[in-house]
């Protein structure tokens, strides 16, 4: 690995490469383990790929040049404690609630409610150091660390996160809520959480990832979650982002579904300076169902980019996708939805829809649906719309006594409801409803 050169690399790239060498040096002879070999490969890939520029097709509208100019502390020790947590207005969360502060698991703040015979929860750091055999079969097997620079970076350098394992034939009633908090009160902080969620055959579970920033410095979160949904299993997966305007969030959720399984997701971006979500779902079995919902409500100069890939590999599956955006002020949005229907995937039903409302002349939305279909007996459709609020509807409401501002808010709220109501963890849904209401005050 010593051959890595970085003459023209950004400061952030140089910093990360140096970081990797340091961590390699501490491996104490474990470097030969397959998992560390893989991390080495990932680092080489990252070095080769570098951070993407807008010349890269997948990053055309999302420019990370401001991110890579900055430096971030990836090793900061934080004193973040219960008292700090109490200061954040949060819903009362019950169930399995796990806290990660600057990417590091915090056992003190966390609670696990489900018995171990149903659900195993192990910090990723622990799995990596003590039980690599537990994750070797899965780690890096799904998320693309070959051509995706950020995933490569995460694969090489992720220190912590969580490994969740649901045994076969179990219904986990209590939701699993993963809360990632960037504590940037003292400095710019970077974190690279890595999560591995393995759901056994015929089991059911609800999982949420929630991201938030505390403090005024910049945060860089580069997160990767791999979810394996075994045969006939059902997974609800929610990602909720409420990060600061100075934060950069780049996240990949890689889902692998086996036959007759069911995956239901909602990605809700309430706040964040720069957000890029990749949600990639592979349907690798028959009679699979996948639902992908998304909602983003950027204001100010926030930028939210959702890239999704739905990969139909086998026959008789269906996927439904609905992403909705409300773009205010000078915010920008991107939706790129790919659907692949492979040659084998006959009788596929795949639907994609992206609808946006732009409330200001200065906000922009870029949408790009991409369907690649190699099978001939399929039903696929896609549609995108970007429009403004309906003036006639606003006048209609006003003519009934509803002030204009309230009429606009009601309409936007109604627009968002389609996605918000998909969230089946009540406390999280109510929390989102509240934050959206608050945010739309300024629409």
């Amino acid at each position: 690995m010593s051959s890595i050169e970085n003459k023209d690399a950004s400061s952030l790239k140089a910093e990360l490469i140096a970081d990797f060498h340091l961590s390699q040096a501490k491996l104490n002879g474990k470097a030969a383990l397959p998992i560390h070999q893989l991390r080495g490969e990932a680092m080489q890939n990252f070095d080769k790929l570098g951070f993407p520029t807008i010349r890269h097709e997948e990053w055309k509208y999302s420019n990370v040049s401001n991110l890579v100019k900055q430096t971030f502390d990836f090793h900061t020790k934080t004193e973040f404690n219960q008292a700090d947590l109490d200061k954040i207005p949060l819903p009362h969360l019950t169930g399995n609630v796990l806290y990660f502060i600057n990417g590091v698991y915090n056992a003190e703040l966390s609670q696990i409610a489900t018995p171990e015979n149903k659900l195993k929860v192990i910090p990723f750091s622990e799995a990596l150091a003590q039980q690599p055999e537990l994750i070797e079969g899965y780690f890096g097997k799904y998320a693309n660390y070959e051509t995706d620079a950020f995933t490569a970076l995460n694969t090489a350098l992720a220190k912590d996160g969580v490994v969740v394992q649901v045994a076969d034939n179990k219904i986990v009633e209590e939701p699993i809520i993963l809360r990632f908090i960037s504590d940037v009160r003292l400095a710019n902080v970077g974190s690279q959480p890595r999560n591995l969620i393995i759901v056994g055959k015929n089991s059911q579970v609800k999982i949420a990832e929630a991201y938030r920033t505390v403090g005024d410095n910049a945060a860089f979160v580069n997160t990767v979650t791999e979810i394996i949904v075994d045969e006939s299993a059902m997974v609800d997966y929610y990602k909720v982002q409420s990060e600061s305007d100075k934060s950069y969030h780049i996240g990949t959720t890689q889902v692998y579904q086996k036959g007759r399984s069911y995956f239901y997701s909602a990605t809700v971006t309430l706040n964040g300076g720069f957000v890029r979500n990749n949600l990639n779902v592979v349907l690798d079995g028959e009679y699979i169902e996948s639902h992908l919902f998304g909602l983003y409500v950027p204001n100010g100069k926030q930028h939210v980019d959702n890239h999704t890939v739905v990969d139909h590999r086998k026959p008789n599956c269906e996927s439904h996708e609905l992403y909705k955006g409300i773009l205010m002020d000078k915010s920008t949005g991107v939706f790129n939805g790919k659907i692949f229907v492979r040659e084998d995937a006959q009788k596929t039903n795949a639907y994609q829809n992206c609808r946006n409302v732009v409330t200001s002349d200065e906000a922009t939305m870029n949408t790009k649906p991409q369907l690649e279909i190699w099978a001939d007996d399929v039903k696929c459709s896609h549609g995108t719309t970007t429009g403004q609020l309906n003036d006639e509807a606003i006048f209609y409401m006003q003519s009934r006594g509803i002030p204009k501002k309230e009429a606009i808010r009601l309409q936007l709220l109604a627009f968002a409801q389609d996605v918000v109501t998909q969230i089946k963890i009540d406390s999280i849904r109510e929390y989102i409803e509240e934050l959206i209401l608050e945010k739309l005050e300024g629409a």
Partner: protein
């Protein structure tokens, strides 16, 4: 109650109302008739405060207030209701929630406490009967997927719920079949209480068979060119508008 004085209004560069004068007293029903493009709907829209129109001259006072100075929602709160010719579909907002918000905004404006859930439900049940509107319909998104008749009945239902003092009915009869026409008209008649006034904009006599007006005005080229009682409507039904057009056009040439 309502005094319109020399009202001129235009949309973009086109002058549509060219000097309307009209006085409406409490309890009166005025029918506004006239050929297509005469400005009937424009008058209703201007009174309700639609932004597309610019008032260039004249005044409108409503219960002593300068109506043209008020935002549409304030006009509603003051007691004006416009039943739309083309009611708007609003996905995601149920009729019930919409009306709850509207009623309580109007009450707030008038310094009243909001209706509680029980009071609201009671009023809703009562008024739904007036226009034979189904409970299930009210739980759906406002006007979304409603038939033409359902939309118009919903307009009258909303009017009944909001209890305005002046109802403006903009071609409420268009797109209705015989039964729906009767139901809608009967709903309006039950809201006639001697104090509440109505302006009924219509192209045809048929609605006026049910809602019998006190006065009938004929609008042509943006002016009221003839006023009379309900007999005028019958005459128009029989003879059409051409004789009035000819009269007016002849005068203009002269």
């Amino acid at each position: 109650m309502l005094t319109i004085n020399n009202l001129h209004a235009r949309i973009e560069e086109k002058e549509i109302l060219r000097g309307i004068n009209l006085e409406i007293k409490p309890g009166e029903v005025h029918a506004i008739m006239g050929p297509n493009g005469s400005g009937k709907s424009t008058l209703a829209s201007v009174l309700a405060g639609r932004e597309d129109y610019e008032v260039t001259e004249g005044s409108v006072t409503f219960n002593g207030k300068d109506l043209l100075d008020l935002a549409p929602e304030k006009r509603a709160a003051e007691g004006i209701f416009l039943a739309f010719q083309y009611p708007v579909e609003i996905p995601g907002v149920t009729t019930i929630n919409f009306l709850k918000t509207a009623i309580n905004e109007i009450r707030k404006y008038n310094g009243q406490e909001p209706l509680d859930a029980a009071q609201f439900l009671k009023r809703m049940r009562e008024k739904a009967k007036l226009v034979k509107i189904d409970d299930a319909l009210l739980k759906r998104s406002l006007n979304e997927g409603f038939s033409g008749g359902e939309k118009k009945r919903n307009e009258i239902f909303q009017m009944a719920m909001l209890e305005p003092t002046l109802g403006l009915l903009d071609e409420t009869d268009s797109g209705l079949d015989i039964d729906a026409l009767r139901i809608v008209a009967e709903g309006v008649n039950q809201l006639r209480d001697g104090k509440r006034s109505f302006v009924v904009v219509t192209h045809y006599q048929r609605l006026l068979d049910y809602i019998v007006p006190d006065f009938v005005h004929v609008l042509y080229k943006g002016r009221i060119v003839k006023s009379g009682t309900k007999e005028l409507a019958l005459e128009l039904e029989e003879k059409g508008y051409d004789w009035i057009k000819n009269e007016v056009d002849a005068l203009e040439i002269a």
